[in-house]
Amino acid sequence: MTQKSSWFESPADADKRLAEVGYLSDTATSTTSYLAGALEKPLLVEGPAGVGKTELAKAIARATGADLVRLQCYEGLDEARALYEWNYKKQLLRIQAAGDQSWDETHDDIFTDEFLLTRPLLTAIRREEPTVLLIDEVDKTDVEVEGLLLEVLSDFQVTIPEMGTIVAVRRPLVVLTSNATRELSEAIKRRCLFLHIDYPDSEREREIVVSQVPEVEEELAGQIVEVVAKLRGMELRKAPSIAETIDWARTLVALGTGTLDAAAIDQTLGVILKHASDHDRAVRELRLRAR
C-alpha cells in the first residue's frame, strides 16, 4: 500500500509556500505544482535554459520539507547510472575470498544489498520519507532511457532479477525538466502533467531580481529588466535568461552602478551575452556607442 502524502493544499497554498522559500511563481506554475501532488502524477517542466525549471523542483522540496533526489541526465546515461548497478569489483573480491564455500552460497551472498549500488531512481523509490525526485534535463538522454523512466514512473516499482521486486512505500513527487532540444516521446508526455515555463513578464522578473539580490535598488532593478526585455526582443543566438538577469544585477551592485546608462551597459554586457555576434548586435541596436 502506498501512503497518501500531502504536498500542497491548493494552488494558493503552493503559491504562498513557494514564495516563502524564495520561488516566485505564477498561476500556471502554482496550479500545476499543486496538481502534481494532488493527482500523484509526474510533472514535466519544459522551457528555455535558465527560466527556473530546476529551481522549481528544488523549491517544491524546500517548501514541503521533502528531500530532493536528483538524477542529472546526459548523453549516454544508462540503467546502471540511473537505476542500480552491482558492485562488480566488490563481488569479485568476495568470490576470490570465498575459499571452499559452495558457489550457490557465494551467489546468494553477492547479490544482496551490500553489493548493490543504488542510483537516484531506485533511491527515490526506496525512501520512506517525503521525496521530490528531480530528473533533470531529460532531453539530453537517449530514447532508451525514456523507456526505463516510463516503466519506473508507471508503477513506481523496480524489479531486480536477483532480488525481486521493490515497490515504493511512498510515492515521490517527480519533476522532469527539459530544455526541448528534442521532442520527448508521446508515451512520457501522456504520463506527465505538462508545464511550459517561459521568460517572466517584466514585473515578475523585477520581483525575482529584488528577492535574489536584495542589495539592488528598485529603480536599477527596473532598468535592468527593461534592457533584458529589449535584448530578448532581438534575434540573438542565446537570449539572456533569468539566471543571467540575476548575475547582471549582482555585477552592477558590486560595481556600485547607480543608473544603467549606455556606458554601464556596454561595460558589463559580457555578463549577459555569451556570443560575440550577440554582443555586437546589442551594441548596435541599443545604440551603446556614438557613431
Partner: protein
C-alpha cells in the same frame, strides 16, 4: 449546459483544432478539476493546460479554443449597449450616424470617433498595459468591426474591418514620437512597441471569435477560425506575422535536427573494437575486460547543391529551406546554393559569412535581382545557364536539391539538360511547396520534371524538417 457537457465539447474542439488529446488525458483533466473544486478562470485554464496540452507549439490553438468555451465575458462585456439599431444598416450608414453624434457604441464610427480611439490606443501602446489593451480591443470590435449580418438580427464582426480602420501599425511611429524618438532611433524600443501592436491585433482577433461564438456557437468557430500551429502553416499562404514566426522557428528546428542526427549516428552499430583501450580499461577490474572500447565510426558526408526558385510566390519557401540547410551545414561536406528566376546566381557566400537570419533573409530577397534577367520565371533557361556556367558543380559525390513550384510560364523546360544534371549528380530531389493536388494544374510542369527528379511535397516546417533530416 452542464460543466461536463462543456468539458466534453471543449475536448472535442481541441481535437478538431489539431491537439491530439487522448481519452486518458481527458479523464486526467476531469480529475484535476475535481480536486480543484470550482476555481477562478485562469486556474481552470492552467489545469486544462497541464493535463491536455503537451506541446508548446499547440499553445496558441489551445488558448483560442479555451477562450471560446470559457469566455471571460458575455455580450458586449464591460458596457451595456442599448438596442441593436445599426444591425440592418450599411457600414456607411453607421459611419454617418457616428458623425451625427449618436451615443451608441455599436458601430459608432466616424472621423472624430476614430481619431479619439486612435489617440487612446496610442497611449495604451506606450504604456503596454494588457488590461487597457484588452478593453480597447473590445471597444474597437464594437465600434469598427461590425459587418452586416445575413439574416435579420444576426450580427457579424470582422477583425479585418477593425484593422483597416484603426491601423495600429501606423500608430507605432506616433508612440515613438511621443517618447521623443525618431522612427529609427532605437530599434529595440521600436520592436517592443510593435510587439504591443501585435498584442492588440491578437486581442481583436480573440474578441471577434468570442462574439462569433455567441452567435454561431463555439464549435462552429473552433472549426473554422482556429489556425494550426506555425509548423503546420503552408509556406505559400503564410501572412507577414506568420513568416516572422517561421523564421524564428528555423534555428530551434535546426538545433533539434542536429541533436537528433548526432543521436542517431551514435546509436548506429559500434565501430571496430579498440583493443588497446579495452585492455587499459580492464586494469581497474583486475584484468577482466568488463567493457569493450570501440573506435569511432566515420559517417560519410556528402556535398549538396541547392537550386532555388526565388520568384515572388515561392521565395519564402526557398529562403527557409536554405537557412535550414545552412544551419545544418556541419552535416554536409560542402554546400553550394544558387538562386534563379530566369538567370542563375550563386549565393553560397551570403550564408557562409552571416549568422544572422534576419539579415540573410533580406539579402536573399535582394539577390533575386541578380537571378532575374527578364523577370519571369523560366526553369528551362535557369537550368541551362546553370549547366553552362557551373559544369563542375555536380559530381558523383554531390546531391542535387531543387526548390520550387515548377511553374515555368509555359516556357521550354529544357528536359534534356535536366536529365544530364541528374546523371551528373549522385541523387536528386525536388521540393515543391504546393499541395500535391495542385501540381500539374495551370502552368505547372511538376509532372514533366517529376519524371526526371523525384518530387516531394514540402508545404510547411514539419515536412521541411522531416525531409532535411532524411537528407543529412
Amino acid at each position: 449546459m452542464t460543466l461536463l457537457d462543456r468539458h466534453i465539447e471543449f475536448v472535442e474542439a481541441l481535437r478538431t483544432a489539431g491537439l491530439p488529446v487522448s481519452l486518458a488525458e481527458g479523464l486526467d483533466a476531469v480529475r484535476a478539476i475535481d480536486v480543484l473544486g470550482i476555481e477562478e478562470r485562469e486556474t481552470l485554464r492552467a489545469a486544462y493546460a497541464a493535463t491536455l496540452l503537451k506541446r508548446q507549439n499547440h499553445r496558441t490553438g489551445f488558448d483560442q479554443v479555451f477562450d471560446l468555451y470559457f469566455p471571460l465575458l458575455i455580450g458586449d462585456g464591460y458596457r451595456i449597449v442599448p438596442g441593436d439599431r445599426h444591425e440592418s444598416e450599411d457600414p456607411e450608414d453607421a459611419e454617418r450616424s457616428g458623425l451625427s453624434g449618436s451615443d451608441d457604441l455599436v458601430g459608432q464610427d466616424g472621423p472624430q470617433a476614430l481619431a479619439d480611439f486612435r489617440e487612446a490606443l496610442t497611449d495604451a501602446l506606450a504604456l503596454g498595459d494588457p488590461d487597457v489593451l484588452a478593453l480597447l480591443a473590445r471597444e474597437a470590435v464594437q465600434r469598427f468591426g461590425l459587418i452586416r449580418g445575413r439574416g435579420p438580427g444576426e450580427q457579424r464582426w470582422s477583425s479585418y474591418n477593425v484593422m483597416n480602420r484603426v491601423s495600429p501599425d501606423e500608430l507605432v511611429d506616433e508612440v515613438l514620437q511621443g517618447m521623443g524618438l525618431a522612427t529609427d532611433d532605437d530599434p529595440a524600443i521600436r520592436r517592443l512597441v510593435e510587439a504591443q501592436a501585435q498584442v492588440f491585433e491578437r486581442l481583436v482577433d480573440a474578441e471577434v471569435r468570442r462574439r462569433a461564438a455567441e452567435v454561431r456557437g463555439p464549435q462552429h468557430v473552433a472549426r473554422h477560425t482556429i489556425r494550426p500551429g506555425i509548423e503546420q502553416v503552408d509556406f505559400t499562404s503564410a501572412r507577414k506575422a506568420d513568416l516572422e514566426l517561421m523564421r524564428r522557428e528555423i534555428q530551434p528546428l535546426a538545433r533539434r535536427l542536429a541533436t537528433r542526427l548526432s543521436r542517431e549516428q551514435h546509436a548506429r552499430p559500434r565501430g571496430p573494437l579498440d583493443f588497446r583501450r579495452t585492455v587499459r580499461a580492464s586494469m581497474s577490474s583486475g584484468g577482466v575486460p568488463m567493457e569493450t572500447r570501440h573506435k569511432p565510426k566515420r559517417p560519410g558526408r556528402t556535398d549538396l547543391v541547392v537550386l532555388c526558385d526565388v520568384s515572388g510566390s515561392v521565395a519564402n519557401f526557398a529562403s527557409f529551406t536554405l537557412m535550414l540547410v545552412f544551419a545544418l551545414r556541419e552535416q554536409f561536406n560542402r554546400v553550394r546554393a544558387f538562386t534563379f528566376v530566369d538567370e542563375i546566381h550563386e549565393v553560397t557566400d551570403r550564408f557562409e559569412t552571416s549568422n544572422d537570419p534576419a539579415q540573410t533573409m533580406s539579402e536573399l530577397a535582394a539577390s533575386a535581382r541578380y537571378a532575374s534577367l527578364w523577370g519571369r520565371t523560366n526553369y528551362g533557361r535557369a537550368f541551362t545557364r546553370f549547366a553552362d556556367q557551373h559544369p563542375d558543380a555536380l559530381t558523383p559525390k554531390t546531391n542535387l536539391l531543387v526548390l520550387g513550384d515548377a511553374r515555368s510560364n509555359h516556357t521550354d523546360l529544357a528536359l534534356p539538360v535536366v536529365k544530364d544534371l541528374t546523371y551528373a549528380a549522385r541523387h536528386s530531389w525536388w521540393l515543391n511547396p504546393e499541395h500535391a493536388r495542385n501540381w500539374n494544374t495551370g502552368d505547372s510542369a511538376a509532372r514533366e520534371y517529376g519524371r526526371l527528379i523525384p518530387m516531394v511535397e514540402c508545404r510547411n516546417l514539419t515536412q521541411l524538417g522531416e525531409f532535411v533530416h532524411d537528407l543529412a
